[in-house]
């Protein structure tokens, strides 16, 4: 009989299965779209760590996505590719550093202040890149060569081959999910969840919550940078728009749309929204209007996101209070 957990497991398997044979199913347009969706999924999961698990509503998350992309553009020479084993750590390090600085200021505040401050700092970075003519200004900058998956003369994987790139991104999506699951199950994750549930009590139980929030912020920012890096490789161009707060708003919308605090939900949200956008953007010039209406409807009608639709298949297994009580009483005697 179908129940919630079985449904979730089955759905996940089918989803991953379809993605895994993607290059065989999709022709190049859709292959690229799916790659973009997977990258967006990584981006969304990184924000879910903050919003859904730590309770930090960051409205400047796109800044880290964009910073990593720009760093790749800066560090990629015109004539030849740079090794991914150099550029990736570099770009991730840059995103982490940006997250550390912005996080350090932001985490000392909470609630509305936090939202506004993260928004403001991200916008500051947007303006910096938008006005920096050396980096292409508002047009952005090209990445002339995809990174070399190898070093020197040795090429382990050919990233110019779209199928190879597809699988690299696919592996990154799965890997990011597993990494986040591991971290959330570890002692660190317990503290984070405690902070979201009741930060004051978590503090009173012995945890320096500010430090934990900062670490979560940096982790999330680094993963956002990872997504930005992958996006930059895929499209070959980085522009200030990647750091604009509209981009931050969109990824936030994905997280809520998908179902925050589930990790998987935001990935679903990413796919759903991109599918919608792909279909409707050609039909109308005013996609943003519909997007806006759509967001409002979701907030009002489905506040726990698409993932909560799984509840149609039954509630999460909970032991009723009386049963548990009588069971234990019996065990005692």
């Amino acid at each position: 009989m179908m129940n919630r957990d079985i449904f979730i497991r089955a759905f996940t398997l089918v989803f991953i299965g379809v993605l895994a044979i993607g290059p065989m199913l999709f022709e190049s347009y859709y292959k690229e779209l799916v790659m973009h969706m997977m990258v967006l999924g990584i981006f969304a999961m990184s924000l879910d760590l903050l919003i859904g698990f730590t309770g930090l509503v960051s409205f400047g998350h796109a800044a880290f996505f964009g910073v990593a992309g720009y760093l790749l553009a800066i560090v990629t020479p015109e004539a030849e590719p740079i090794s991914i084993f150099i550029s990736l750590p570099f770009c991730l390090g840059g995103a982490a550093l940006a997250a550390l600085v912005i996080g350090w200021f932001s985490v000392r505040t909470s609630g509305i202040y936090f939202i506004m401050i993260t928004l403001a700092f991200a916008q500051m970075l947007f303006y910096y890149f938008n006005e920096n003519q050396d980096l292409g200004g508002s047009d952005g900058i090209f990445i002339f060569n995809k990174p070399l998956f190898g070093w020197g003369e040795t090429k382990l994987l050919d990233l110019d081959n779209p199928d190879v790139l597809y699988y690299l991104i696919f592996a990154s999506l799965i890997g990011t999910y597993l990494l986040l699951r591991t971290i959330l199950n570890a002692p660190f994750g317990k503290v984070i969840k405690g902070i979201k549930a009741n930060e004051h009590r978590t503090q009173a139980l012995g945890f320096n919550t500010q430090r934990y929030k900062l670490v979560a912020f940096v982790l999330a920012g680094t993963l956002a940078g990872f997504a930005g890096y992958l996006e930059a490789i895929t499209t070959g161009i980085v522009s200030p728009g990647h750091l604009h707060w509209h981009h931050s708003g969109e990824v936030m919308m994905l997280v809520i749309l998908g179902g925050m605090g589930t990790l998987f939900g935001p990935v679903l949200g990413a796919f759903a929204l991109e599918l919608l956008r792909d279909n409707f953007q050609d039909m109308t010039q005013h996609w943003h209007l519909y997007q806006g209406i759509f967001i409002i409807l979701i907030v009002l009608l489905l506040p726990n996101g698409i993932a909560s639709l799984a509840n149609l298949f039954g509630k999460k297994q909970e032991v009723p209070v009386e049963e548990a009580a009588t069971e234990k009483e019996e065990q005692k005697s």
């Binding site: 401050i117 928004l119 916008q123 006005e131 919308m253 809520i256 005013h286 209406i293 409002i296 907030v299």
Partner: protein, 288 residues
């Protein structure tokens, strides 16, 4: 820089500060009293400017356009409060942010549908054209002084409203303790509608009166929104006094920053915010 340039920049900074204050005060009041973060607040500024441009086409007179425009904006503000914002009172910040973000998308797109993507200019009224001669080749426009004057009057009016009238007292009570105010039989929802419409009108007025100077263009709402956030954060959420001080600081910092450090012009404002936050994370007049 010489004294005249300094004076001109200072006057510009103050004038910009006043315009910012009108927008930020609405934002901080709405948050302080209703507990709602309204991202679409910048859209009111934008709508004010566009409606002015549109009405001037019909009436040819800035003052009439502004007066009519204000009436329209109060109605729009009230409608949005009843139809969208009122659903947010029991929701958390995240949902508020998202819903009002959706509102921005809708309003921005509606603006493009009605008025297109061009930049428009609003003419300075004949009566206020020209300026004060400061040196042989520099004059300071009368209209800019007019903006500061008008905003000062509005600010004074706001202060009187909040601190001296019965409505103001109810507003302050609602800000300080919503449940108690409700328990005393005061129609808190009615007050919320008033506060929201007032905030929208203030932002719209800022857009209207500033339009001859700043032009009317898509995205102007987003721009002023972020800066208003900075002002509110610096001043302390819920504090109108803080919004005033913050607006002046930012107005002057941005103006002088653009002149003294042109490569870092946009960044100056955020650097100021960061420094103030280092010292007082709750803002200058915010509650600890």
């Amino acid at each position: 820089m010489d004294f005249t340039t300094f004076l001109i920049q200072a006057l510009n900074g103050i004038q910009y500060g006043f315009l910012l204050f009108l927008v930020a005060s609405g934002l901080t009041l709405i948050f302080g009293i209703m507990g709602i973060i309204n991202l679409a607040h910048g859209a009111f500024y934008m709508l004010g400017a566009y409606i002015t441009y549109w009405l001037i086409g019909y009436t040819g007179n800035l003052a009439i356009a502004i007066a009519l425009g204000l009436v329209i904006m109060v109605v729009v503000g009230y409608a949005i409060e009843r139809l969208a914002i009122s659903f947010l009172y029991s929701r958390d910040h995240l949902h508020q942010v998202l819903l009002t973000y959706g509102l921005i998308l809708i309003l921005n797109e509606l603006q493009k549908i009605f008025w297109g993507t061009d930049f428009y200019s609003v003419p300075v009224p004949d009566m206020l054209k020209g300026g004060i001669q400061m040196t042989d080749n520099q004059s300071y426009p009368y209209y800019r002084l007019f903006i500061s004057l008008v905003c000062m009057i509005v600010a004074a009016g706001l202060y009187l409203l909040i601190s001296k009238t019965k409505l103001g007292m109810m507003i302050r009570a609602g800000a300080s303790n919503r449940e108690m105010t409700q328990a005393l039989g005061i129609n808190v929802n009615g007050i919320f509608a008033i506060v929201f419409s007032l905030g929208a009108a203030l932002a719209a007025f800022s857009g209207m009166v500033g339009s001859p100077v700043s032009s009317v263009f898509p995205g102007m709402g987003d721009e002023i929104l972020i800066i208003s956030f900075v002002v509110v954060v610096i001043g302390g959420i819920g504090s109108v006094k803080g919004a005033f001080v913050g607006a002046m600081i930012i107005g002057l910092a941005d103006t002088f920053g653009t002149v003294l450090l042109p490569e870092f012009a946009s960044v100056v404002v955020y650097a100021v915010m960061a420094m103030i936050l280092l010292w007082r994370p709750q803002g200058l007049f915010g509650k600890a």
